[in-house]
Amino acid sequence: MSKYFRARIKENRKLNKDHNLLILTPLTPIKEPEPGQFYMIGMGREEYDPLLKRPFSPLSSSPESIQILYRIRGRGTLIMSNMGEGSVLDILGPLGNAYPMPARNHIPLVIAGGIGIASLFSLSKKLSKRAYIFYGARKRNELLLMDELKNFAKELFISTNDGSVGEKCDITDILKRFLNSQSYLSDKFLLYLCGPKPMLKAILEIIKDRKINAYVSMEENMACGIGACLGCAVKTVKGYKMVCKEGPVFPIEEIVW
């Protein structure tokens, strides 16, 4: 059971202009990841441009099948989106730490901005029906996996910036209202966050006076993915930590923004 393996593309499904769902068949036995962990995925090619692997959090991952939801962001993901069935990728992982599971008396709130849902999806599933899920995106077609999320959630809150579906606001506005309306439960809430920096900072503002605990999955450019290159540093109150090894999940109060 190696942490470096090859997997064949079974399907590379276009979900919309910017998002694909990649379904992979591992060619050798793999170790199953915990929610929050990630893979470093290489194009399995001989060419050196692009050079580095890219980090992705699987929606699900079993010895039979790995599902990756990805947004086409730059060169690497663009090339990936053009890869056909049968192509073989090389993969490192699972890597990094995982979201700590909530205690029995915790009320988990999952808050995803945009493609941040990729990292929080498997957690939501594992928390089956326990979590309130807050999911915001810019517009309708960036809200993905809605049917599954509805199933996994105790309650699902949706927002888009253009109001094309759900409320027309930031997802943080909905979260704020929710927390206000249930402020007596503050010490029970446990937040799980993944999304763009502005969203994370807004949430930090909201929770900092309420003593709510939150875990956040951080993003940094990566090279090795295993703590060897010291490239993926994020500033914390305890000095620089490596997102790939000591993270990607950190207690939010540890991060120095």
């Binding site: 190696s2 942490k3 470096y4 290489g42 050196y48 441009d49 692009p50 050079l51 580095l52 692997k53 090389d90 490192l92 940094e220 450019n221 990566m222 090279a223 090795c224 993915g225 295993i226 703590g227 060897a228 290159c229 010291l230 490239g231 993926c232 540093a233 994020v234 500033k235 000095g239 620089y240």
Partner: protein
């Protein structure tokens, strides 16, 4: 059957991959490049460390260093820039926390180190000199000199001479001086380091570069500039190793963009006695072993029984 096994075994026996770097004997020429292989243990999930020619660990300083603000890494065409900022746990933590693990393996441990001042270099070298199971020292002189308004040590021949000589005086371990490629005349720097008492030279370290985000108009690296490594720099590295090989008598350890056995053999042909695998580890965590096996295959296919036949074997007529 038994005859076949015997033949195969003698085949192996007949193929000599060992090389010597000063008084240090390596069972094969495949080393790791400092800073790309952590303290060894990070890759032990993937690589049987026993098989490596040598393990060169991340550069150490006297005290722990925080390193640079992120982003520290950015991809470039066929390469990458890093500005780790020499983050490290410091020499004492290394000895206490990392060395015990490394010691368990049958691969020589070479410690890469640096300092802000010649005095710091000396002090680190002294501390390392007395430790059991450190087999060699590699001094990184591509770092800023506090006593000369942070000019890079390894870009000034006189300073290079002084810092290598100072370290030479405090250690009897095999001493490798790691040269900076950001110089006009690499052969001169090599000669100076040899004269100052280095037992071997390693090159190249990274070339200074930068990248800009045109949307934000900011440098893509938190510290603005960084070191370029990877396949992009291989042609420059090969040329420099060749120039140095033709200039000095001490062994040369070649590196810079080595991704596969082919690349490694190119370096050996231009004169590298050993080679180090750097950025390639990030692309393929098994790179060191793949390269070692690739060299063996090449030797077998070309009926080369001793790797020394390759070293400096370039034909130029």
């Amino acid at each position: 059957m038994s005859e076949r096994v015997t033949l195969y075994a003698s085949d192996i026996l007949l193929m000599n991959l060992s090389v010597t770097i000063g008084k240090l004997k390596l069972k094969n020429p495949v080393m790791t490049a400092s800073g790309t292989f952590g303290y060894g243990e990070e890759y032990s999930d993937f690589v049987d460390l026993n098989r490596l020619g040598a393990i060169v660990v991340k550069g150490l300083s006297l005290l722990p260093r925080e390193g640079n603000p992120p982003p520290r890494i950015v991809e470039t065409p066929a390469g990458m820039l890093n500005s780790i900022g020499l983050q490290n746990i410091g020499v004492e933590n290394f000895i206490r926390e990392k060395l015990p693990f490394l010691r368990k393996f049958d691969a020589p441990i070479i410690v890469n180190f640096f300092g802000d001042t010649i005095g710091e270099y000396e002090e680190v070298a002294r501390k390392l000199n007395d430790v059991d199971s450190i087999h060699g020292l590699e001094m990184n002189i591509s770092c800023p000199n506090k006593e000369a308004s942070w000019k890079i040590f390894g870009t000034d021949p006189e300073v290079t001479f002084r810092v290598v000589q100072a370290v030479r005086k405090v250690t009897d371990l095999p001493l490798i001086a790691k040269l900076s490629p950001n110089v006009t005349d690499i052969a001169q720097m090599a000669r100076v380091a040899e004269d100052a008492g280095a037992d071997a030279l390693s090159l190249i370290n990274t070339l200074t570069g930068m990248a800009v985000d045109i949307k934000t108009r900011r440098p893509k690296l938190g510290k603005f500039t960084g070191g370029l490594s990877g396949p992009a720099i291989k042609p420059i590295a090969l040329r420099m190793v060749w120039e140095v090989y033709k200039t000095v008598r001490i062994p040369v350890i070649g590196m810079g963009g080595i991704m596969n056995a082919n690349d490694a053999i190119e370096f050996m042909l231009v004169g590298a006695r050993a080679i180090a695998v750097g950025t390639a580890n990030f692309i393929n965590p098994l790179a060191t072993i793949d390269i070692l096996e690739g060299i063996e295959t090449f030797m077998r296919e070309n009926k080369i029984t001793d790797i020394k036949e390759l070293i400096g074997g370039l034909k130029c007529h």
